[in-house]
Symmetry: C2
Subunit: 560 residues, 2 copies
Amino acid sequence: MNTTIDTPAAARSWTTLRDEKARRLALVEPWLEEGVLPRARIVDALQALVCPGDRVALEGDNQKQADFLSRALAQVEPKKVHDVHLLISSISRPEHLTLFERGIAHRVDFSFAGPQSLRVAQLLEDGQLEVGAIHTYVELYARMFVDLTPRVALLCAEQADRHGNLYTGPNTEDTPTIAEAAAFRHGIVIVQVNEIVDELPRVDIPGSWVDVVVEADRPFAVEPLFTRDPRHIGDLQVLTAMMVIRGIYEPYGVTSLNHGIGFDTAAIELILPTYGAELGLKGKICRNWTLNPHPTLIPAIESGWVDSVHCFGSEVGMEAYIAARPDVFFTGSDGSLRSNRVLCQLAGQYGVDLFIGSTLQIDGDANSSTVTRGRLAGFGGAPNMGHDPRGRRHASEAWLKLMSPQGANDGGASGIARGHKLVVQLAETYKKGGEPTFVEALDAVAVGEKSGMPIAPVMIYGDDVSHVVTEEGIAYLHKAQGTEERRAALAAVAGVTPIGLRADPARTAELRRRGIVAYPEDLGIRRAQAKRSMLAARSIDDLVEWSGGLYAPPARFRSW
Amino acid sequence: MNTTIDTPAAARSWTTLRDEKARRLALVEPWLEEGVLPRARIVDALQALVCPGDRVALEGDNQKQADFLSRALAQVEPKKVHDVHLLISSISRPEHLTLFERGIAHRVDFSFAGPQSLRVAQLLEDGQLEVGAIHTYVELYARMFVDLTPRVALLCAEQADRHGNLYTGPNTEDTPTIAEAAAFRHGIVIVQVNEIVDELPRVDIPGSWVDVVVEADRPFAVEPLFTRDPRHIGDLQVLTAMMVIRGIYEPYGVTSLNHGIGFDTAAIELILPTYGAELGLKGKICRNWTLNPHPTLIPAIESGWVDSVHCFGSEVGMEAYIAARPDVFFTGSDGSLRSNRVLCQLAGQYGVDLFIGSTLQIDGDANSSTVTRGRLAGFGGAPNMGHDPRGRRHASEAWLKLMSPQGANDGGASGIARGHKLVVQLAETYKKGGEPTFVEALDAVAVGEKSGMPIAPVMIYGDDVSHVVTEEGIAYLHKAQGTEERRAALAAVAGVTPIGLRADPARTAELRRRGIVAYPEDLGIRRAQAKRSMLAARSIDDLVEWSGGLYAPPARFRSW
């Protein structure tokens, strides 16, 4: 062998991670009863199991929250546990930020910070919080297998048995992925459960991946984030929904898709059994879905539109309905949903033909963002599904319809063309407060600069967007030739916003003739037709009725 | 509610899938002993559990093969089981195609068909086999949660206990993902195991996901696909490897990466402890890896270069070495590797900064393919890692260095820029047989047309490629302005191939001055320096020695 090379093998230990895990677990071993930690010991246990500077994955998912563990972590002595590097997909609870105020945590890598985004921005400015990066969900999980492997994972499940096997119930979400990243890299896996039982309905995560189980003081927190009350859907949203079905789903033959959450997409779901049926589209479009179990999908399911739904997570109140519809949902032998955020994001990225979502701001190049001034909200899952996946190699009818005739998509003259995902952005030209949605520059650009981010926090990039739909019409951006024509098409549907005012009527007329822009009348839709009466359900009560009483909406959505 | 809507809920059954599963399982129930099927009953059982037209996921992974089950399936009576729609990631065993010859299967969705690709093409031409689509691995798995949910899954593990819990050993690979897709969509999960034991070393898949376990007649088949004997690495490959380290890894600061398999990338792995150490790069580059446990990585691991390796699968002979290096590899409490193809592909797509792989053909626009005439080989995992992931939102030093200064990457003037993954293609200008690697048109284009594929089976698209490295030099394609300059940069490193002959010496000189092309001398590398003596290991025996005797190469690689 070459003699100029480095240190030989024997000089170091190769089991430092495993040894350190054993050392820490030995500290709490005396407190464990059959592997279960008594609830009152949790703060002590965290002080023993978490060390300063550790990377700690805390299960704050999009939906369920390991809130017993996060509340306990916020109570440790900062002298003992400080400068933790927190990995968390959603910063959503007040105590998540208490960790930073108390100095227990300092650095964070995350995906979404909806309700806490103002406080995140403030703590960042005050130097109490340092952001590693803001990710789309799966990116954060990807890095847990690369350079952000967790030293400790604080997880959340419904039940455990005496062997540490876990039952997640319908909100499986991110637990298996984080558990895998930690357990197989010698991290310490601590799980709060609602209860400990003798026999689980099914096993979602094997006990050999789990180190410490603790029964929480109350069931884990989870919010009904994916419930939209049909009462708040207006005629304008019905109009947009009709255009989407008539102008996109039907002509492209969209059978597999993801809907973002919002009243716009809820309107589409609710007119499938009415408008969609009138058009004779049942069985031809919208068969295979990747999305959370939106209650507004119930009428379409009941009417036989939906073959399958794979879910990122679950939705409060949908449990009994899902359990009664196993032909449609992915459920276990116990009858309840098995969701899985990473696998559903993978399905939403590579396995479906269309992503459609609402946005708050779009610029003249169709870049869009839900970031608004002063808030560091993050991305969630949209960037992963709302882009053209360039690793895709299988073709489908819809995907091939976006193939550029000259193969211009791939920037070459080699005769090599490929299709494109339908990436659709929905927006009303003006927001409720009278602010234009179409703007010269995204707020995200200023927010990114102010926060010292290396690039602007754009949610969906314009060059990935194939269609923009507003109450004015549809811009078929993928059909436009060149940047200038794309801009003209976008302006043609941007109403009287600063971007819309750039539109030239003669140019717009030409774009309509060429099918690059379509207004409702071009699609055979009369604006007067677009009424709330077209919604298959016009209230939460209607949804309950559609479900045969199986859907049990949370109290805040009940009007009776 | 609206009265014009569709059928009400009560009219249909919502448990048809679950009922059908119960019906079929009842047929084999009398044969089961504690959930275990006697080996001699397997053909009868498959005839009862698989019905004509079923979608059947057969575990033919990149590495391990459920070969007991595939051999049994090939023995069923075609009168009873026919027209199966096979989902298989690798068509790699003769009996996989016997299924089509006998009419047991007719349609196939797959990812890779290396050794069987000629026969696939022949069966396709004869009309005995119909291809749904050719996918990259994760795409196929994504669709198992959308429109290709399996009715039956035929899987493979090392051990099962009496509760059906599974231990996969180091080749976990695709088993958890396929099991999840089938088990939670009321598919029937049948698993062959090497042995049934009372207690498993660890649980990889919970027993509640498994319906039938059968002990195979012999251990499942697995080939050492990722072993490259250093004896076959020549001086030219050492030269290329030096250029990659000096011209790419060092200046871009590449810390996280994926290496494709091949002698070119093996050479890079083997000169890290020599050339890389001389350059003072230890700890600065190549710390976090996503790849199979290549034996040629041993010297870099032993020299302390490698912080972590997450694996798609395992590699024959590496078991004891991996178990002794838990600081580096993802291993379970039993000590053996936990691999996971989907999670490692996710990590390789979103979590690392660089993909580098060898290719067989490149056209003038840097599109590349390993497809050659007459063969329908498929893609494997390369397309998923060898593209710029447009859903990426986190920044890193390396990624930001590929940001176009004008934000030209995103086709806009909105001041919105983003980085780019390093996607590097390695190739010698001429192949061993004297055929040029750089060609006017990829064979893939003709193969695609002949096979009636809707688009050409391109492995890596040119517009995703950031760098092409040959024995002549490096083309920094991402720095080129416009299509024409990209082509000139590529031609400058394409030697005397048809593409290389297009190069204009004056133009090349200018591209070298501007840093868009670099020849070895531009990087401070003397060609005479590039010798096999620079390899930290020059034989399999050297690798064994580096490993302290822990690496146990398969017989075919032993020379002693």
